[in-house]
C-alpha cells in the first residue's frame, strides 16, 4: 500500500516536473540545464530544454498525472513504482541533449517498459510477448545507436547542438544511412508498419496503466526522436525522406485500422489503433519534411503543427480508452468483445467517459481528434497546389487513405462501444452487478475526457502555443485557418441542440418500452449482433489484406439436419506475421534440402575438397 502511494506520488511529481519543463521550454526557448562531464567525450551527459520537446513534455505531464491518479487506486504497488520509473526515463529522454544521455535514457525507457509488459510473467503468453518486445526494442536501439554514431562521427562532437551545426555538411550517403537507420529504430518503437508487430502482442498482456503510457506517451517520444533527427540533427532532409514517411504513414494508418476492425480483444484492438494514429502523425511529419525541402516553409509549419497536435490528442484519448478498458477488465474479468455487453447499465461513470474517448478517436466534432485530423487534411489538400504533380499524387493518396481510415475507425468504434457497452450482457449474469462508484480511477478517466473535450471545443488552447514552438523549429509560423477556432462548435451545435430538444419533448410525450421485436421468438442475449458478425462485411471486402480463416465444425446428432453442436471460428492473420512465418518456413525448408550435402560419407567430402581445389586453381589462372 505504502509502495503504491510512493509510486503514484512520484509519478505525479514527475508529471508536475514535466509540466514545468514544458512551460519553460515553450516560453523561453532553448535552455541549457547542465551536463555531467566524463573522461571520454562520447560519454558526456548533456541536458537542455528545447522548444521541440515542449509539446511532448506537456503530453507526458497530462498523461502522467492521469495515470498517477489512476495508480492511487488500481495499480499493483510494483507496477506503480515501475510507471514512475518509466515516466522518469521519458522525461530525461525529452531533455537529453547529447548522444550518451539520449541513448542511456532511451535504453532505460525500453527496459522499464519491458518490465511493465512482463507484469504478469507467470503466464507463458506474457513471457513470449515480453521476449518479442525486447527483441524489437533492442534491435531498434542498435539502429538508433548506429544513427547517432554516423551523425556524431561526422560532426566530431557528441552534443546535439554540435551535431546539428555539422549536419549541413553531411555527405548524402551518410545522411541517407542515418535516415534509414532512424526509420528502423524509431519507426519500430513508434509502431509504424511493418515494424509494428510487437504492439499487438505487448498491449493485451500489460497492465492498463502501462498500456496507456506505452501507447499514449512512449510512441510519441519515438516520434519526437524521429522529428528531432529529421528536422534538426540530420537537417536539411531531402524530399525522398518525407515522401517515404508519408507512404509508410498512409500504409500504417490503413493497415492499423483494418486489423483493429477484425480484432475482438479490446486491448489488442486499441493497440492496432495506435498503429493507425501513429500513421496519421507520420503523414503530417512526412508532409512537413517534403514541404520544407521544397522551400514551402509555411506549409511545413502547418503540417508539423497538425502532426504534433494529433500526437498530443492521441495520447489523451488513447490513455482514456486504455484506462477505460482497465475498468472493464476489473469489473468483467475479460476484455473479449464477444463476451461483453450491457456495461452501460452498471459502469455509470466509465461508460459515458469511454464514449467520449471513442468519439474523440474517430475524429468527430467537437472533440480533439477532429481538430487535429482536420488540420492534417487541410495541410495535405493545400499541398496539392504547392507541390509538383508527382508529390501531389502522394499527398492525394494520403488524403484518400486518411479519409478511408476515418470511416473504418468509425465502423470499428461503433462495434467496440455498441457491442461492449450497449445491449444485453453476452455471458450468463448470475448475480446483480454493483453500480460503479466514483473513485480515483474514475477521476483519472474524467480528467482525460475533459481534456479531450476542451481541446476539441477550443483547439486554439493547444494550437497557439504549438504554433510558436513550430515557428522556432522551422522558422516560419504556421498559417492557421480562420475556420479552425469556430468550426467544431459550428458543426456540433445543431446536433447537440436537437438531441437535447428531443429529450425535452420526451418529458411531455409518451415513450413506451416494449420487448425488442425478434419476429416472435423470445429475446435472448445471443440473438444480438456480435463483434465478429459486425465486422463480417468489411472482413470480406478487405480479405486480401486480412487473410481471414474460417473453421466450421458440425457435430452430427440423430440426423445431419439436427446437429448436436456447431463450432464456428474465424480468425484474421496479420499479413506481416504471415509473411515472416512464410519466410521462416521457406528458410527452414531450404536448410532441410541442403542437409543432403552433408551425407556423412568420407568419399563425398574428399570429392568436395577436390572440387574446391580445382575451382580455386581455375579462378587463380584466369
Amino acid at each position: 500500500m505504502r509502495l503504491r502511494l510512493l509510486g503514484a506520488g512520484s509519478t505525479l511529481t514527475l508529471a508536475l516536473l514535466a509540466a514545468i519543463c514544458a512551460f519553460v521550454a515553450a516560453t523561453r526557448g532553448s535552455v541549457e540545464l547542465g551536463s555531467v562531464p566524463a573522461s571520454v567525450p562520447a560519454l558526456q551527459l548533456d541536458f537542455a530544454l528545447t522548444p521541440l520537446a515542449a509539446p511532448f513534455l506537456a503530453l507526458l505531464a497530462m498523461l502522467g498525472s492521469a495515470v498517477g491518479v489512476w495508480g492511487l487506486r488500481r495499480d499493483r504497488p510494483i507496477d506503480a513504482m515501475l510507471i514512475a520509473a518509466f515516466v522518469a526515463a521519458m522525461l530525461v529522454l525529452l531533455i537529453a541533449s547529447s548522444v550518451a544521455s539520449f541513448f542511456l535514457s532511451w535504453e532505460t525507457m525500453s527496459l522499464v517498459s519491458a518490465f511493465l509488459v512482463a507484469a504478469y510473467h507467470k503466464r507463458r503468453a506474457v513471457r513470449r510477448a515480453t521476449w518479442v518486445y525486447l527483441v524489437a526494442a533492442q534491435a531498434g536501439a542498435l539502429c538508433i545507436l548506429a544513427t547517432m554514431l554516423v551523425l556524431a562521427t561526422h560532426a566530431g562532437g557528441w552534443s546535439f547542438p554540435a551535431i546539428a551545426t555539422a549536419a549541413a555538411t553531411l555527405p548524402p550517403s551518410a545522411r541517407d544511412a542515418a535516415f534509414i537507420l532512424a526509420m528502423l529504430g524509431f519507426g519500430s518503437k513508434a509502431g509504424l508498419l511493418p515494424l509494428h508487430f510487437w504492439l499487438p502482442r505487448a498491449h493485451p498482456v500489460a497492465p492498463p496503466s502501462a498500456s496507456a503510457m506505452l501507447s499514449g506517451a512512449m510512441l510519441k517520444v519515438a516520434l519526437y526522436a524521429l522529428t528531432l533527427v529529421t528536422f534538426n540533427l540530420a537537417a536539411p532532409a531531402p524530399t525522398s525522406w518525407g515522401v517515404a514517411l508519408m507512404v509508410v504513414g498512409t500504409l500504417s494508418a490503413i493497415g492499423g485500422v483494418l486489423y483493429a476492425l477484425v480484432d475482438h480483444d479490446l486491448k489488442r484492438l486499441l493497440a492496432y489503433h495506435s498503429v493507425e494514429n501513429v500513421g496519421i502523425i507520420a503523414i503530417g511529419i512526412g508532409l512537413a519534411l517534403v514541404a520544407r525541402s521544397t522551400g514551402d516553409l509555411a506549409l511545413a509549419a502547418l503540417a508539423l503543427t497538425a502532426a504534433i497536435f494529433h500526437a498530443i490528442n492521441h495520447g489523451l484519448f488513447k490513455g482514456l480508452l486504455f484506462l477505460g478498458s482497465g475498468v472493464v477488465a476489473d469489473t468483467e474479468g475479460t476484455v473479449d468483445l464477444e463476451r461483453l455487453g450491457g456495461l452501460w447499465s452498471h459502469l455509470v461513470w466509465t461508460g459515458p467517459l469511454f464514449l467520449i474517448g471513442c468519439v474523440a478517436i474517430v475524429g468527430l466534432p467537437p472533440f480533439n481528434g477532429f481538430a487535429s485530423e482536420w488540420m492534417t487534411f487541410q495541410s495535405l489538400i493545400a499541398s496539392w497546389h504547392a507541390f509538383v504533380p508527382a508529390f501531389a499524387l502522394v499527398s492525394l493518396a494520403a488524403v484518400l487513405g486518411l479519409s478511408l481510415t476515418g470511416g473504418l475507425a468509425a465502423a470499428c468504434f461503433v462495434k467496440v462501444f455498441g457491442v461492449a457497452f450497449l445491449g444485453h450482457p453476452r455471458r450468463a449474469v448470475t448475480r446483480p452487478i454493483a453500480t460503479e462508484r466514483f473513485d480515483a480511477a474514475t477521476l483519472a478517466l474524467m480528467a482525460l475526457a475533459v481534456l479531450c473535450t476542451l481541446f476539441g471545443i477550443v483547439p486554439m488552447l493547444v494550437v497557439v502555443p504549438l504554433a510558436r514552438v513550430v515557428a522556432s523549429t522551422i522558422g516560419v509560423a504556421p498559417p492557421i485557418a480562420a475556420a479552425l477556432p469556430v468550426l467544431p462548435i459550428a458543426l456540433a451545435t445543431l446536433p447537440i441542440a436537437a438531441a437535447i430538444g428531443v429529450l425535452a419533448i420526451e418529458r411531455y410525450r409518451r415513450v413506451r418500452t416494449v420487448p425488442t421485436w425478434t419476429c416472435g421468438s423470445p429475446v435472448t442475449p445471443s440473438a444480438q449482433y456480435t463483434a465478429t458478425a459486425f465486422s463480417k462485411s468489411l472482413r470480406t471486402i478487405f480479405a486480401f489484406v486480412l487473410l481471414p480463416e474460417r473453421r466450421r465444425i458440425v457435430e452430427a446428432g440423430a440426423s445431419s439436419w439436427f446437429p448436436k453442436r456447431i463450432v464456428y471460428r474465424t480468425e484474421s492473420r496479420d499479413i506481416i506475421d504471415e509473411t515472416a512465418r512464410r519466410f521462416a518456413a521457406l528458410m527452414l525448408q531450404f536448410a532441410r534440402r541442403s542437409r543432403a550435402l552433408q551425407s556423412g560419407s568420407l568419399r563425398l567430402y574428399v570429392a568436395y575438397s577436390l572440387g574446391a581445389v580445382i575451382v580455386a586453381i581455375a579462378l587463380a589462372n584466369r
Binding site: A382, L393, G406, L487, L491, A498, T516, A533, S537, I541
Partner: protein
C-alpha cells in the same frame, strides 16, 4: 438571418422533394402512386403517435433521432446557397459531420439488441467508410483545386470534361449516401435487405418523424449539392438542376435493380475512381 431562411426553406421543401420522387417513381413503374404531399401527411400522422422503444434502451437510443436531425440541419445550413454561416461549408468538415450521423445511428442500432438493426448498422458503417473517401474526392475534385476546402469554391467552378468526371463520382456516392437503389432500397419491407431502414427499424411515432425528416433533408441537400456542381449558382438554375437530378435518381431507381451487397464496394470504387481521375487530370494541368 439568411442562414435561418435557407435552413427552414430546405427543411420545409425536403418532404416535397421526397414525395415528388416517390410519385415520379410510381408513375415510371405504371402505378398511380401517392400524392406528392403524402410525406407531409405522414409527418402529421407520426407526430401524433407515441414513440415505442425496446426495453432497456439507453439514453443514446433516445438522443439519436435528435442528433441525426441536427446533422441534417447542419448539412442544409452549410450549402453555399447564399445563406451559409462562414466556417460551416467546409468540405472536410462536412465529411466528418456525416460521420457523426452514421456513428450515432450505428451505435443506437446496436443498442436495440435486435439482430436486424445490428446487421443494418454493420452494413451502414461498412458503406459509409467506403463512401467517405469517394465523396471527399468528388467534392474536392469539383472544387477549385488546392484553393482551400470551402464549398463556396464550387460556385466559381469552370465546367468541362474533368468536372463531369467528378460529378459522375458524386452521383454514385449520392445514391449510396441517400439510401437509393442500386445500393439500398427505401421502400423495402424485407429486413434482410434493409440498410438505412434497418438502422431505424426499432423507432416509431414521433421519434421516427425526426429520423425521416433527417433522411429527407439529407436527400434534398445532396440534390442541391449536385445542382451546385452542375450549375454553379443562380436560384433558378439551381432549382432546375435539382429537379432534373431528382428525376434522374427516380429513373435510376426504376431501371436498375438493387445490386448484391458485395458488389456495392465495386460501385463505390467506381465512383472513387471517377473522382480521383478528375483530380489527377487537374493536377497535371488539364483544363476544367
Amino acid at each position: 438571418m439568411n442562414a435561418l431562411v435557407q435552413l427552414l426553406l430546405v427543411a420545409a421543401l425536403a418532404p416535397l422533394a421526397h414525395g415528388a420522387m416517390k410519385a415520379l417513381r410510381a408513375r415510371f413503374s405504371g402505378r398511380p402512386g401517392p400524392s406528392i404531399l403524402q410525406s407531409y401527411r405522414d409527418y402529421a400522422k407520426l407526430w401524433c403517435k407515441e414513440a415505442v422503444l425496446p426495453e432497456g434502451a439507453s439514453i443514446i437510443t433516445r438522443c439519436a433521432p435528435g442528433v441525426a436531425f441536427g446533422v441534417a440541419l447542419t448539412l442544409a445550413a452549410a450549402l453555399p446557397l447564399g445563406g451559409s454561416v462562414p466556417p460551416l461549408p467546409d468540405v472536410v468538415g462536412l465529411i466528418f459531420l456525416l460521420a457523426v450521423g452514421h456513428f450515432v445511428l450505428g451505435v443506437a442500432a446496436l443498442d436495440t439488441r435486435s439482430a436486424f438493426s445490428g446487421m443494418a448498422a454493420s452494413r451502414s458503417m461498412t458503406f459509409a467508410s467506403l463512401v467517405e473517401p469517394a465523396l471527399l474526392a468528388a467534392l474536392l475534385g469539383a472544387a477549385a483545386l488546392g484553393k482551400g476546402t470551402q464549398l463556396s469554391s464550387l460556385l466559381t467552378l469552370a465546367h468541362g470534361p474533368t468536372s463531369a468526371l467528378a460529378f459522375a463520382g458524386f452521383f454514385l456516392v449520392m445514391l449510396a449516401e441517400t439510401a437509393r437503389i442500386p445500393i439500398d432500397n427505401q421502400e423495402t419491407h424485407y429486413e434482410l435487405t434493409m440498410i438505412h431502414e434497418g438502422l431505424v427499424l426499432e423507432y416509431s411515432g414521433w421519434h421516427l418523424a425526426f429520423l425521416q425528416a433527417a433522411a429527407q433533408i439529407r436527400q434534398l441537400s445532396f440534390l442541391l449539392l449536385g445542382a451546385i456542381l452542375l450549375s454553379g449558382g443562380g436560384v433558378l438554375a439551381l432549382a432546375g438542376w435539382a429537379v432534373v437530378l431528382a428525376a434522374a435518381v427516380s429513373v435510376v431507381e426504376t431501371v436498375f435493380a438493387k445490386v448484391r451487397l458485395f458488389e456495392v464496394p465495386q460501385l463505390l470504387a467506381t465512383g472513387l475512381i471517377f473522382a480521383v481521375t478528375s483530380i489527377v487530370l487537374r493536377l497535371f494541368g488539364a483544363p476544367a
